[in-house]
């Protein structure tokens, strides 16, 4: 009934501060690799590894135009990550709404018949 597949990669990817910072950088717009790497004191190949982790789990996608590869965010993946507990809450709210309505019915019957 509930979709929750394949999120482990997302959370593993986001467990790293460099990768979280990349996500934050991408939250306003698409950026080229060199621009993304600039704030980090890190060799480019290592940095590119981080980008690959993000892309593999579907949080970002990249495109190469000429010699420049640039990255953008895939917001759908983050939405999937945040939705589970929210779904659980909705399910419980509705269940309890139904319970309360049913109890009102029962009470009305009990008042009439004097039994439950």
């Amino acid at each position: 009934m509930l979709e929750h597949g394949g999120m482990d990669g997302v959370f593993k990817a986001l467990a790293d501060p460099t990768r979280r910072a990349v996500i934050a950088q991408l939250s306003c717009r698409r950026r080229a690799v060199s621009e993304l790497a600039q704030p980090f004191d890190m060799a480019l190949p290592s940095f590119v590894q981080h980008l690959k982790v993000l892309e593999r789990c579907g949080l970002v996608r990249s495109e190469k135009v000429g010699r420049v590869r640039s990255y953008e965010l895939v917001p759908k993946r983050l939405r999937e990550a945040e939705s589970w507990l929210c779904e659980q809450r909705q399910m419980w709210e509705q269940r309890l709404d139904q319970l309360d309505a049913y109890l009102e019915e029962l009470k009305a019957t009990e008042d009439q018949e004097g039994t439950l």
Binding site: L14, S27, L73, L85, L106, K107
Partner: protein, 171 residues
């Protein structure tokens, strides 16, 4: 909540706590939760249905439900067991254990839960006895890891990511 009514510690990042007051006596709320004939009438959010229910009301006793989709497809049963049964006060059950406290095969149900219903008699709007009840659903940390509200729990998710998720909602 951690008091005599539910003397366990909850984690707001993993657990749901829903409190309601309903204008019926405690024993009726208890009945609705513990008698299959009543439970099937309301337990599953519509348009889904509970088509089967077995209740063996004692610690270790079976709490078995089968749901059916709106298209008429029957789902794998929930076969949990009760952990605590205090009539008209508290009912605790889990999906992690089956009848007789035997651990369930959890590969089919990756998110385990323990749930509790805590009942308390209060005075209703008409002065007659009413019931305050609290529904608690506790989840494992694994489940919490998969939720946004839990993002602070993984070290340093930070404000940037919250903003990001806000942004993502608008897309």
């Amino acid at each position: 909540m951690s008091n005599n009514n539910f003397p366990w510690t909850l984690n707001p990042k993993l657990d749901l706590v829903l409190e309601r007051v309903v204008d019926v006596p405690v024993h009726m709320v208890w009945k609705a939760w513990t008698d299959p004939k009543h439970l099937v009438k309301w337990f599953t959010p519509r348009p889904w249905k509970t088509v089967e229910c077995k209740i063996d009301l004692r610690p270790g006793g079976q709490f078995y439900t089968v749901m059916q989709s709106p298209e008429g497809e029957t789902q794998p049963p929930g076969n949990g067991c009760y952990l605590e049964v205090i009539e008209n006060q508290r009912l605790v059950w889990t999906g992690a254990l089956g009848p007789g406290f035997r651990p369930n095969d959890t590969s089919e149900a990756p998110f385990l839960f323990t749930a509790a219903i805590v009942l308390e008699e209060v005075k209703g709007s008409d002065g007659k006895p009413a019931t305050k009840y609290t529904a608690i659903a506790m989840h494992s940390e694994e489940a919490g890891c998969k939720t946004h509200s839990d993002m602070g729990f993984h070290e340093g998710w930070g404000a940037a990511l919250d903003q990001l998720v806000e942004l993502a909602k608008t897309w």
